[in-house]
Amino acid sequence: MAAHQSLGQLIIRRLLLGLLLLLMISGIIFAGTELLPGDVAQSILGQSATPEALKNLRLEMGLDRPPLERYLSWLTNLAQGDLGTSLSSGRDIGEMIGDRLGNTLFLAASAAIIAVPLAIFLGLIAVLHRNGIVDKVISISTISMISLPEFFIGYLLILFIAVHLNWLPSSSIIYNSMTFGEKLQAIALPCLTLTLVCLAHMMRMTRAAILNVMSSPYIETAQLKGLSAFRVIFHHAFPNAISPIITVVVLNLAYLVVGVVVVEIIYVYPGMGQLLVDHVTNRDIPVVQAVGLIFAAIYILLNMFADIMAIIANPRLRHPK
């Protein structure tokens, strides 16, 4: 059915789908915090709270209004850029997030810039030497890497690089007046940790995606034309592997999103992840909702971007009948 649609239609469709998805996710996040059996007011004030205090808090939070009405007003405020106020500090959430969003994106993007090309390169190397010793070494080390928890890698790096060798600081303080170079130095360790975390996943799946393409009959045709291995892989396999590779890469950016939360805790890095974890512990629901939604939105936008790239990279869709 897809073949009957033009490229533009497909892309617009995907964009609209992404928007719809965002709207529904906002609903799920709202429902996840407001409709679950736990009583929000109770969990904020604790078991020893007086009924009077509970009632006041409920009124203050507007919990006496029906859920749909509260959701709609939350959504309207969001659309106007008003993220609400924090329960624990009374501060404006938009202000609290402020620089932190930039910090988190800076860290995640630096890791992605290193990890993505490296993963594709290593994947290609593994395919070129498939079943050889290089491939086996890469395979065993990646399978070990994907099994390691982020904090194991993180603390190992701190112990050796920061504490024993004293090359880099163990916590990543970052502020606006730092130069770009200083910032890069500050995030070097967390960035390395994040890179290691998602590199292995990405590389394994890239290798599988290219191998899958390599088993196609048109690759045999190319070999029977007497082309060199280099030309077979780069001219014939690679163009067809682009869209599965994009899918793989973005799929693995999920590890980056999750990893960034843990890594920020390890390195005491002032980003969104730390904000989220702190306020989950405080049960500061408006902050959790806002930060959770931002994380989900970034992930959904990445996925949408990947799908659109994959659509554009597919020759069957680019050149319809």
Binding site: P217, Y218, T221, L224, G226, H236, P239
Partner: protein, 546 residues
């Protein structure tokens, strides 16, 4: 001075290592001691059943073995140089410049990411035989010569933008473009419909004649190879059975196996007249669509009497398999009725009662996937016995064994798994499973097309014997006209979702024909020399008349 041989294959041996989990890796011989010689302008046909090693030999002529296989002995001399002894670079050069390959499925063999022309000229350009402009001009010439539509623009399209038959011809252009001295054709027409096959076959034959290349033509269809080759080598299980000129093999075969191949499908059922009574199955005015919009079947009306065979014949896209799905209830029709045994069947599967389901059984094309690989043969055949008739325990086992005897397999197969059986044996088990329900109508969907000809003959013979004994009615769906002749009492010809012709076999297969049936019947290759030229000549005359 005698003309030197361009290709000399001597004592070729190819082995494969099989690594089944849990077993010790073992080696099997795929090709054993094969030798032949070929001059420029000559064509040798390699013929054999699946597993005969013919494709493996074809690929070996390019010095190539699929992964898991290895060329373990012998030599392959191309123009005096043994390609097996060459280093990779020189071998690649030889592949690119002197030998070319045409694969069975052009649709899979073309890279979807590049334009057709870019792939067609790649070989010539990469190996520096021509400049890009020269190569493109030459390719355009070849498109025109091979009868491709709009030759000036054809190559600018992507593979998925043209039809299967056109792509197969483009694959031939790709092979010809580097002006090789030898082309390997590996089942180039097998994936095509019979009316398309004849055109591609004619194209290939002319191309060989015009360019004077040597060719290896690999196929399982003796009638096809008889049209294009000068010599035929018959292979079985990797060994040579017989080698001779095409005339020798077709008309004076020495070996029994070759004689069997030549005389295949000579059987023909004696047609039974249609009784006046009410038919067992009456299909009336059926329209059907998969998406509710685009009709795949339009106004199909036909009937079948008890104990008789109705063949539904047509090419891919004719709707013949869809009709089977409608009759079984898998695809409820948009309109029309199906009356079985005097009672109208409800359109969907869910509303049919157990008795109706039992009366109507189905046998599939791919026996491999028609049986659950994790069930034993006993479980597979025993399930309908228990399910429909409530028979259990020793009685069920007895009946299962009886059925195994009927399909000529016997008791020792009862505890085996499908994977341990050969293709023909699997199809027999599927027949037994259908018989176990004690049906009155069996739908056979291309049940012999995945089988080698001799095995297929055995299956058809079994089905006919069973019909004689138990009076089953068969609805036989096939694209193969030889099968149709062999088994039918009545025939329905379908084309693009509509019934073109329906009636008793003798009537359907005798003139006057409608255009489509005429073309379909005349496109089936016959086991005689010069058939292709004759049929093409008569078609040219006809179109001249018009």
């Amino acid at each position: 001075m005698p003309v030197p041989h361009f290709l000399e294959v001597s004592n070729l041996e190819i082995t494969a290592s099989i690594n089944m989990p849990g077993d010790i890796p073992k080696k099997i011989t795929l090709v054993d001691n094969i030798s032949f010689k070929l001059k420029r302008g000559e064509v040798i046909g390699l013929i054999g059943e699946s597993g005969a090693g013919k494709s493996t030999i074809g690929l070996a002529a390019l010095g190539y073995a699929r992964s898991g296989c290895a060329i373990s002995g012998g030599s392959i001399k191309i123009n005096g140089t043994d390609i097996l002894q060459l280093p990779t670079k020189a071998r690649n050069k030889m592949r690119g410049t002197q030998v070319a390959y045409v694969a069975q499925s052009a649709a899979a063999a073309f890279n979807p990411a590049h334009r057709i022309s870019d792939q067609v000229i790649e070989e010539a350009v990469v190996h520096r035989l021509m400049s890009k402009t020269e190569a493109l001009a030459y390719a355009d010439d070849l498109y025109e010569k091979l009868g491709l539509p709009d030759p000036k623009n054809f190559g600018r399209r992507y593979p998925h933008q043209v039809s299967g038959g056109q792509l197969q011809r483009a694959m031939t252009v790709m092979a010809l473009c580097a002006k090789p001295d030898l082309i390997i054709f590996d089942e180039p027409t097998t994936a095509l419909d019979v009316t398309t096959q004849i055109e591609v076959l004619a194209t290939i034959k002319n191309a060989i004649k015009d360019t004077g290349v040597a060719a290896l033509y690999i196929t399982h269809d003796l009638a096809v190879v008889a049209q294009v080759s000068d010599y035929i080598m018959v292979l079985r299980h990797g060994k040579m059975v017989e080698f001779g000129s095409t005339d020798q093999i077709i008309n004076h075969a020495q070996q029994q196996y070759t004689q069997e191949l030549v005389s295949i499908r000579a059987m023909e059922k004696e047609e039974q007249a249609a009784p006046d009574s009410r038919p067992l199955l009456q299909v009336s005015h059926i329209d059907a669509a998969y998406d509710g919009l685009n009709k795949v079947l339009e106004d199909v009306t036909l009937h079948l009497h008890a104990g008789q065979t109705l063949s539904i014949v047509g090419e891919s896209g004719s709707g013949k398999s869809t009709l089977a799905r409608v009759i079984t209830g898998l695809l409820p029709p948009l309109q029309g009725s199906i009356v079985f045994n005097g009672i109208e069947l409800s359109a969907g599967l869910k509303n049919r009662d157990l008795e109706q389901l039992r009366e109507l059984q189905m046998i599939y094309q791919m026996a491999d996937v028609a049986m659950n690989p994790r069930h034993t043969i006993g479980q597979i055949i025993g399930r309908p016995i228990e399910f429909y008739h409530g028979t259990k325990g020793a009685q069920k086992r007895r009946e299962t064994i009886e059925l195994l005897d009927q399909i000529e397999l016997g008791e020792q197969y009862i505890d085996r798994y499908p994977a341990e059986l050969s293709g023909g044996q699997k199809q027999r088990v599927c027949i037994a499973r259908a018989l176990a329900a004690k049906p009155s109508l069996i739908i056979c969907d291309e049940v012999t097309s995945a089988l080698d000809p001799l095995v297929a003959d055995g299956i058809l013979q079994l089905l006919m014997d069973l019909q004689k004994e138990h009076n089953y009615a068969y609805l036989f769906i096939t694209h193969d006209l030889a099968t149709v002749k062999a088994i039918s009492d009545s025939i329905a010809v379908m084309y693009q979702g509509s019934l073109v012709r329906f009636g008793q076999k003798s009537k359907v297969l005798s003139p006057p024909f409608d255009d489509y049936t005429q073309m379909l019947l005349s496109s089936v290759p016959e086991m005689e020399l010069g058939w292709l030229e004759r049929i093409l000549a008569s078609r040219t005359m006809q179109s001249a008349d018009n």
